[in-house]
């Protein structure tokens, strides 16, 4: 493997990792803070992609479409939390898995009823649809660079919000001790709803980003959901930092595993990585409640 090819593959791995981080961030926040396993996170990802595609078609304006799609995905998440998931904060993980599994089936068929089975087109805005010359021999799709930038911005933003702001303090307080936080005057219910809506918007953002490089179709959320769970668990549930590092790790390992290993082993490599990491550190790389 030549140096420039290595650099390009590394870039691919990092970009894939950043993408995974966008998907996992919301999942790990909801999982860590509300102690809720939300398998329907993948469905929100799918909704983000479908809504963005639909709004682009209707409005013809990308920014407006993206804003609308994000807002609507957040709203869907909010309604889902209020209607169903709120009852499940105190239920077992298993009940949560089951009810959100049911939600996946419902979401998939609703999307199928509305949009049909044919994958939907989601065209990129002109300036982003091509590629740019990075260094000699490395020509890179512009939009992947956009994803890279957005992902890094989101990571930075989340870090600042959770660690350095009052909202972040409320979130952390609500996570570690609910009654205490309420006693301090934090409306935990509201904070949770807000976190859930924000997590949904992040899933939607990831979905519409992914939708522009791969197909927008029913069931697109499930394979991604598995990867997001892998990232969440390797990073340590609830840890934004852990999710970021785990996502990059998975992205790079998967990319190089795919090109360097035989196919069956290449498909297995991230699962082997997860098993090894968990056998070594049973609560992930950055356990939150050490």
């Amino acid at each position: 493997m030549s140096v420039s090819l290595f650099i390009e593959q590394l870039l691919n791995g990092v970009q894939f990792g950043v993408m995974l981080f966008l998907i996992s961030a919301g999942l790990t926040l909801v999982f860590g803070i509300m102690n809720l396993i939300n398998l329907a996170h993948g469905s929100l990802y799918m909704m983000g992609a479908f809504l963005a595609a639909a709004f682009v078609k209707i409005t013809g304006n990308y920014l407006a479409a993206l804003a609308l799609a994000l807002a609507l995905t957040a709203l869907i998440g909010y309604v889902m939390e209020k209607l169903v998931l709120q009852r499940f904060y105190h239920r077992s993980h298993l009940d949560q898995v089951l009810v959100t599994f049911g939600l996946i089936l419902v979401f998939n068929d609703i999307v199928r009823l509305i949009w049909g089975v044919v994958p939907v087109q989601f065209r990129l805005p002109e300036p982003f649809s091509g590629s740019v010359q990075l260094i000699a021999d490395v020509q890179y799709p512009t939009f992947r660079l956009v994803i890279l930038a957005v992902g890094l911005l989101v990571a930075l933003g989340l870090y600042v919000i959770v660690v350095h702001t009052r909202i972040g303090m409320w979130i952390r307080a609500g996570a570690s001790n609910r009654p205490m936080a309420s006693a301090l005057g934090v409306d935990v219910g509201l904070v949770f709803s807000a976190v859930f809506a924000a997590g949904s918007a992040l899933a939607g953002l990831a979905g519409l980003m992914a939708g522009s490089i791969s197909s927008v179709q029913v069931g697109m959320g499930e394979p991604v959901l598995i990867l997001a769970l892998v990232v969440t668990v390797i990073g340590g549930i609830g840890s934004i930092r852990g999710a970021f590092i785990a996502a990059l790790l998975i992205g790079v390992v998967d990319t190089f595993g795919r090109v360097l290993l035989p196919p069956a082993l290449g498909s297995m490599v991230i699962f082997m990585l997860m098993a090894i990491i968990l056998a070594w550190r049973p609560k992930g790389l950055f356990p939150v409640n050490a």
Binding site: V84, R87, L94, L98, V106, V230, V233, S267, F271, L278
Partner: protein
């Protein structure tokens, strides 16, 4: 309240608690007759699937419902059992040895072998997985499931993704058991024995420790019990029975493929156990019956059958916290009752 109830009364009380299970078994036993009356042999095939999945769901529930270990690798273990039978049958048909071991289509050999191999796999993976707990345990078992899946995909000799057709005629120590009704009753007997086995296990000293660990592991340690080996033993027992079910599956289908090991199948088993009711040994049987039948019947009405299916799942989880078994009254952990 006499402390040491005599054996006969304890059998009576057991029967009193387990009457729905007995009822379901009797109904299942009537399936071949019903199928004959309405002249529809497919029903037996469908219920063979129900019964075999029920065995897995019951075995899974032993660690899931009573040990709080959410395993996402039971499809993998199931597949191992199935592949052992299929691979030996393949070598028998091919008349080529597997390394030095000759192939065989004799289930009296391959079924015990399937159980042993699966138990061994469960012991290896369990020893690593049980270092973790909660959601981490779910994910590490999922990882092992995927590894097993891709392992069998990689076995090009045995069909890879295509799966492996069993062409040799399977027999059990010279007896042909492939007749549909015979095979159905064999599977049903295995289910009944499995239910009895796990009922006994749950109430034994071993089972009590397992349940106690699920409720309060810290306290169990403080009492002087190291829970790990009990959890591991439970995982191996559960895996062995799952391997047996896999062997039956291969025998009944005459076909195995990696899709038998898909993680979605693992999730299906969990759904069966939870939906059926984890607090009772026989709860998952109800789950298996309902899930398999819904999956078979709903698509006859609409191609959007996953929508009602999903809604049914959600409603059951929201309103029947103890699963379908709660329709027969609320349950407490069986091992916990000194009567």
């Amino acid at each position: 309240m006499p402390e040491s109830s005599s054996n006969s009364t304890s059998v009576l009380t057991a029967l009193k608690q387990a009457w729905p299970a007995v009822l379901v078994l009797i109904l299942l036993a009537l399936v071949p007759t019903i199928s004959q009356v309405i002249d529809n042999p497919f029903i037996i095939r469908l219920f063979t699937r129900v019964v075999i999945f029920a065995i897995v769901a019951v075995a899974l529930n032993f660690v899931l419902g009573f040990g709080a270990l959410v395993s996402m690798m039971h499809a993998g273990l199931f597949g191992i059992g199935a592949y052992v039978v299929a691979i030996f049958a393949f070598h028998e048909y091919d008349s080529s040895p597997l390394w030095l071991i000759p192939g065989t289509a004799n289930l009296a050999v391959t079924i015990p072998l399937a159980i042993i191999v699966t138990a061994f796999a469960a012991a290896l993976t369990g020893a690593v997985s049980l270092r973790t707990s909660g959601a981490y345990f779910i994910m590490i078992t999922l990882a092992f499931n995927q590894m097993l899946y891709y392992f069998f995909v990689a076995l090009q000799k045995y069909g890879g993704d295509d799966g492996l057709q069993i062409l040799a005629s399977l027999e059990f120590a010279g007896v042909n058991i492939s007749r549909r009704v015979t095979f159905y009753y064999i599977a049903l007997c295995v289910l009944a024995v499995t239910l009895v086995l796990f009922s006994r296990l749950i109430n034994s000293r071993f089972g009590v420790i397992l349940q106690a660990t699920a409720q309060n592991e810290r306290r169990v340690i403080a009492l002087g019990i190291s829970p790990l080996r009990y959890k591991l033993a439970a995982f191996v027992i559960s895996g062995a029975v799952t391997g047996l079910a896999g062997a039956l599956w291969a025998t009944g289908q005459q076909f195995v493929s990696p899709s038998d090991l898909s993680w979605i199948r693992s999730a299906d088993f969990v759904v069966m156990a939870v939906l059926g009711g984890m607090a009772r040994v026989w709860g998952p049987v109800l789950g298996a019956v309902v899930i398999v039948l819904l999956e078979a019947l709903l698509p006859n009405y609409t191609q959007f059958w996953q929508l009602p299916f999903g809604v049914i799942v959600i409603l059951i989880v929201v309103y029947l916290q103890g699963g379908l078994a709660d329709l027969f009254g609320r349950a407490r952990q069986p091992g916990g009752g000194g009567h």
